[in-house]
C-alpha cells in the first residue's frame, strides 16, 4: 500500500512526522485529527477554521475554493500560506508537505 509522509509543526514549534495511506479517502484534516491534534470542529465544511494551517506553495496541491477563501479572509491571522486543511484531500503530491498549525 502506497504511503506518504506529512510533517507537522505544532503550536509549540514541535515537529511531528505522520505516515498515512494514499487510498484512505481522508482529507488532510482528518489524518491530522486522528493523530490527536484538536481540529475539525465543523467536520470539514470550511466553516470553523479550526484546521487553519500555514503551508508553503499549497497552490501546487489544490486550489482554494471560494468557501475556503471566504473563511480565511475572515480570520485575523491568515496570510498567503494559509489553508484550511479539511479542503485538501490526501494525494501523492502531499508527500513531504510541511504543515504549520496556527494558534487560535
Amino acid at each position: 500500500m502506497e504511503k506518504i509522509l506529512i510533517n507537522i509543526i505544532d503550536q509549540n514549534g514541535e515537529k511531528h512526522v505522520l505516515e498515512t495511506n494514499l487510498d484512505s479517502g481522508l482529507n488532510l484534516m482528518e489524518v491530522v485529527r486522528d493523530e490527536g491534534f484538536q481540529m475539525g470542529n465543523c467536520g470539514g465544511m470550511a466553516l470553523c477554521a479550526s484546521c487553519h494551517c500555514y503551508i508553503q506553495n499549497s497552490h501546487d496541491i489544490n486550489k482554494k475554493s471560494k468557501a475556503e477563501e471566504d473563511m480565511l479572509n475572515q480570520l485575523h491571522n491568515s496570510n498567503l500560506e494559509s489553508r484550511l486543511i479539511c479542503q485538501i484531500p490526501i494525494k501523492k503530491e502531499l508527500n513531504g508537505v510541511v504543515l504549520i498549525l496556527v494558534d487560535d
Binding site: D70, H76, D104
Partner: protein
C-alpha cells in the same frame, strides 16, 4: 441563587434534548452556555447547513433542528443563563452542587450534566499589543447588550456575518458613529448584509475601511483611539469601543479544572449511564468519550435519555418512576 434539579452546561442539541428527557421525569433544568443564543455549533457555525442523519428528518437545517428542540422543551420551562461560562463547581456537604459563572451568577443543583460539545466557544483574539489591558475598557468580543454602545463611537472588525450584522444594527440609531474595518475588500456574510453595508457606507451611515486592519490600541485608562494599518498609509481613528469579531473557537476551558477524568480533551464516562468519575456529574454528546464513541447528534440524544434515568435515581433514591412512552401518556405535561 438560581436553584434547579439539573444544571446543563451547554445548550446545544444534546443539552436541549436533556431538558425534555428530564422533564418527562419531572426534573427541572437550567441551561448555561457561553454563547449568547441556544443551539451550540448548530446555531453558531452552521445554522443554514442541512443535516441528513436525524431520525425522522430526511433533511433538516441545523438552525431548524434547534428551533424544533426549543419548541419541544418549551412545556418544561427551562431556565437559561446565556453568554456566561461556568467557572467553578463545588460539591456541598449535602451532596448538592454550587456553580458559579464567569459573571458571578450563582446556581445550586443536585445534578450537573456537561453537554458542552467541543468546549466553550471563545472569541478569536487578534494579535495586537496591549489587547488584554483594554478588555472591558473599550474592547468587547461578544455583544451581549447593544445599548451599551448608545451614542458611542464604535469600530467593528471582521468580514463575516457577525461583524456585518452588528455594524448594521449599531449604525441604525444606536451608536453615534460606526466604522467597519476588514482585511479584504470582499465579505463572507450574506449577500443582503453585504449590499446593506455598501449602501450604508455610500449614505455615510457606516464608515467602511477595507484592505486594512487595526494595528494598535491607545488610551490611558480606557480605549480612546485605534491605529489603522491600511494599504498605503497608517492613520488614527478616535473611538470609544473596538469590537473585533473574528469568529469563535471552542476551548476546553475550566472543564479541565473540575477533577474529571479526561482523555484527549474529552470526559471519560461509564456507558451504563454516561456518569463521570464524580458522582452526580454526567457528560453527554461530543464532550464525552468511551470505547466506540461516535460523535453524532443522535448518539447524544440516546446518551441523554439514559443519563436522565440515572439522574432521577440519584436525585430521588426513594422516588417511584415507571417508564412510559410519550404516546401512552397522551401528551406532554409540563411545569
Amino acid at each position: 441563587m438560581i436553584k434547579s434539579d439539573i444544571i446543563i452546561i451547554g445548550a446545544g442539541p444534546c443539552g436541549l434534548f436533556s431538558v425534555f428527557e428530564a422533564g418527562l421525569l419531572k426534573m427541572r433544568c437550567h441551561l448555561i452556555d457561553s454563547l449568547p443564543q441556544p443551539g451550540g455549533q448548530c446555531s453558531e457555525i452552521y445554522p443554514k447547513k442541512p443535516i441528513y442523519d436525524i431520525p425522522g428528518f430526511p433533511e433538516i437545517l441545523a438552525g431548524d433542528l434547534i428551533k424544533n428542540l426549543m419548541k419541544q422543551i418549551a412545556p418544561f420551562n427551562p431556565g437559561f443563563t446565556l453568554g456566561e461560562r461556568v467557572e467553578i463547581i463545588k460539591k456541598q456537604s449535602d451532596d448538592s452542587f454550587f456553580v458559579v459563572t464567569n459573571r458571578g451568577t450563582e446556581h445550586s443543583c443536585r445534578v450537573i450534566v456537561i453537554a458542552a460539545g467541543l468546549g466553550c466557544f471563545e472569541p478569536r483574539k487578534p494579535m495586537v499589543e496591549n489587547l488584554s489591558f483594554f478588555e472591558d475598557k473599550g474592547v468587547d468580543y461578544i455583544i451581549k447588550d447593544p445599548f451599551k454602545f448608545k451614542g458611542k463611537k464604535v469600530v467593528v472588525s471582521g468580514g463575516g456575518d457577525s461583524a456585518l450584522d452588528w455594524a448594521i444594527y449599531l449604525a441604525d440609531g444606536i451608536a453615534s458613529q460606526v466604522t467597519l474595518v476588514h482585511r479584504r475588500d470582499s465579505f463572507r456574510g450574506h449577500v443582503e448584509s453585504v449590499e446593506k453595508i455598501h449602501k450604508m457606507s455610500n449614505s455615510g451611515k457606516i464608515n467602511l475601511i477595507t484592505n486594512a486592519e487595526v494595528q494598535a490600541l491607545k488610551g490611558a485608562d480606557k480605549l480612546t483611539s485605534l491605529t489603522i494599518k491600511a494599504e498605503k498609509n497608517n492613520f488614527s481613528i478616535e473611538t470609544d469601543y473596538w469590537v473585533p469579531l473574528f469568529g469563535l473557537t471552542p476551548k476546553l476551558g475550566p472543564i479541565a479544572n473540575w477533577g474529571l477524568n479526561l482523555n484527549k480533551n474529552a470526559i471519560e464516562v461509564n456507558t451504563y449511564d454516561y456518569s463521570t468519575n464524580i458522582e452526580g456529574i454526567y457528560a453527554i454528546g461530543d464532550i464525552n468519550t468511551y470505547p466506540g464513541k461516535l460523535k453524532l447528534i443522535l448518539s447524544g440524544f440516546h446518551e441523554s435519555a439514559l443519563m436522565c434515568q440515572s439522574a432521577f435515581k440519584y436525585i430521588f433514591p426513594n422516588g417511584k418512576k415507571s417508564f412510559k412512552y410519550t404516546t401512552v401518556l397522551g401528551g406532554i405535561e409540563g411545569f
